[in-house]
């Protein structure tokens, strides 16, 4: 399964009130790390559980700062709290879940894996997304999916201004209101294949929202080529 549901019973516990983040990350980067980890007292620390490349489950009890679970590969990281800027930046695979809200640039340039935020996100959620999937239970801020190339973003709440500005081929599903669409982002019809894709994403995120209530947005592909009518502007 994508999303961590581990119990802490058998986990290696690391208390960040007593242990530097570098030590935690070095232990997670060691060859053949223990399969289950529990991190306590993060207190908004930056760079918690970054750069993991192993099939481990990490549960973080409390709020984290910037770049939590950045560059994640294979691991399932669960934050029981809020997250700062750059959650799961450049995520490659595995899953990252935040039970609270996350700040800006969630999953920025993420290549693969699943990122779930149960609450809201700040601006630029899924900026430059390159293949990861993002599911947000609440709303996303402005300029979300900016220049997103591939992957899927699901927003169960509302989207801020300029959603999908300069988007390439990422697919966006929004249940609530969109404040405005960015340049070259348009609403597109929801066909059966999209409803099925959306249902799968919602199920992987552990959500029961009705796919029929979402709208789909994507690229109008008008920015792909130079337009001779605009030659004077180039």
């Amino acid at each position: 399964m994508d999303v961590l549901t581990t119990t802490a019973m058998t986990a290696v516990t690391v208390d960040l009130a007593a242990t530097p983040v570098r030590e935690l990350n070095a232990a997670l980067h060691a060859p053949a790390p223990a399969p289950r980890w529990r991190v306590t007292h993060p207190a908004g620390a930056h760079n918690v559980a970054v750069g993991i490349d192993a099939p481990v489950a990490v549960q973080i009890d409390g709020p984290v700062g910037y770049y939590c679970a950045g560059m994640n590969q294979q691991a399932d990281v669960l934050v029981r709290g809020n997250a700062g800027t750059g959650l799961a930046e450049n995520v490659m695979s595995g899953s990252v879940r935040v039970t609270g809200s996350a700040s800006q640039s969630v999953a920025a340039s993420g290549c693969g894996g699943l990122v779930v935020v149960d609450g809201d996100t700040g601006a630029r959620c899924g900026i430059a997304l390159r293949g990861a999937d993002v599911v947000v239970g609440g709303s996303v801020g402005h300029m979300s999916a900016f220049m997103a190339q591939s992957g899927r973003i699901v927003v169960c709440g509302d989207a801020g201004h300029s959603l999908g500005d300069s988007i390439y081929e990422a697919r966006l599903y929004v249940r609530g209101a969109v404040a405005s669409l960015g340049t070259d982002c348009v609403e597109k019809p929801m066909r059966d294949e999209h409803r099925a894709e959306l249902a799968g994403l919602l199920a992987r995120a552990g959500r029961d929202d009705d796919p029929a209530l979402f709208r789909r947005y994507g690229s109008a592909r008008r920015l792909y080529h130079f337009d001779s009518a605009n030659h004077a502007a180039y």
């Binding site: 930056h46 709020p63 700062g84």
Partner: protein
């Protein structure tokens, strides 16, 4: 970078701990701004009793300015040293004390004035400065602090925040303004004087100028959005109000936490992590371009 922190205490029982809580918040942001730091504390009873006013100056030296300021004011001026900051206090209105300092000791660099707020600033790490200032032992109603990573102007104490340019009006800024020179020229033509080449001082002067002309704090901050170009999270305090404003694209961070006992604003959650009952606080990021205020 730069780190900002502000705390307004709603529960009177918490007021004696204001300084200790603010020192903790400020020191947790030191790696956002290791060059310099400053803090303004409101209504600290031991620092500024009711009926008194304070004017803060930087590195005043040993000259005979104290006697000349007292003579100009017509009453005794008390002086307390906090690291590089000297706080001149008197039983007088802020205008009278500030006027006496300006006329009798124009060579002094004035960094703050008010009947509620006392501004302290210096160069160096927040840990060292809050210790030197004795912040941890101070009580009060609200406080505003800054840890500076210098970008637009030199690492000197006069470039440290908060900028307090009008009675009890303090501003801290994370970011940089790209049109501050133009706005400074405009304000100078309207008779506004400046103490530094710092871009953030321009915003403080602008807000003070607008409020003197009759704007509310919210109106003045809405004008900031219209006039200033650049990146900013601003926290501004007046005698009884705390305000926060982020630029329209939310380039710089801010987080607000609110409980029945206090409201706090900071660059990052880290700064809030030790506040009492923070786990029960309503926590949110201010929306871009929107002015938020809280009045004690």
């Amino acid at each position: 970078m730069c780190g900002i922190a502000a705390l307004q205490v709603r529960d009177p029982a918490l007021r004696p701990r204001l300084g200790a809580l603010m020192a903790e918040m400020t020191c947790r942001l030191v790696d956002r701004g290791p060059d310099a730091a400053g803090i303004a504390v409101y209504d600290a009873p031991e620092l500024l009793p009711a009926g008194w006013s304070a004017v803060s100056v930087l590195d005043p030296g040993e000259a005979g300015w104290r006697d000349s300021v007292s003579a100009a004011l017509g009453s005794e001026v008390d002086v307390r040293l906090f690291g590089p900051t000297a706080v001149l206090r008197a039983r007088a209105t802020t205008a009278a004390l500030a006027g006496a300092v300006r006329s009798a000791a124009p060579e002094l660099t004035r960094i703050g004035r008010g009947a509620h707020a006392v501004t302290l600033k210096g160069v160096g790490l927040a840990e060292e400065l809050t210790e030197a200032f004795g912040i941890g032992a101070m009580g009060g109603t609200q406080a505003i602090a800054h840890t500076r990573m210098a970008t637009e102007s030199a690492v000197v104490a006069s470039g440290s925040h908060p900028f307090s340019v009008d009675d009890d009006l303090c501003l801290v800024h994370n970011g940089s303004f790209s049109n501050h020179a133009s706005v400074r020229r405009t304000l100078r033509r309207q008779g506004v004087d400046f103490d530094s080449e710092n871009d953030s001082e321009v915003a403080a002067r602008f807000i003070g100028h607008r409020m003197t002309a009759g704007d509310t704090l919210t109106e003045a901050l809405d004008r900031v959005v219209a006039v200033f170009d650049g990146f900013y999270t601003l926290v501004v305090t007046t005698a009884d109000t705390l305000a926060v404003l982020r630029d329209p694209i939310a380039c710089k961070p801010a987080i607000v936490a609110e409980t029945p006992a206090w409201v706090a604003v900071a660059s990052e959650y880290r700064a809030l992590a030790e506040l009492p009952s923070v786990e029960t606080a309503r926590i949110f990021e201010p929306e871009p371009g929107r002015v938020y205020t809280w009045t004690s």
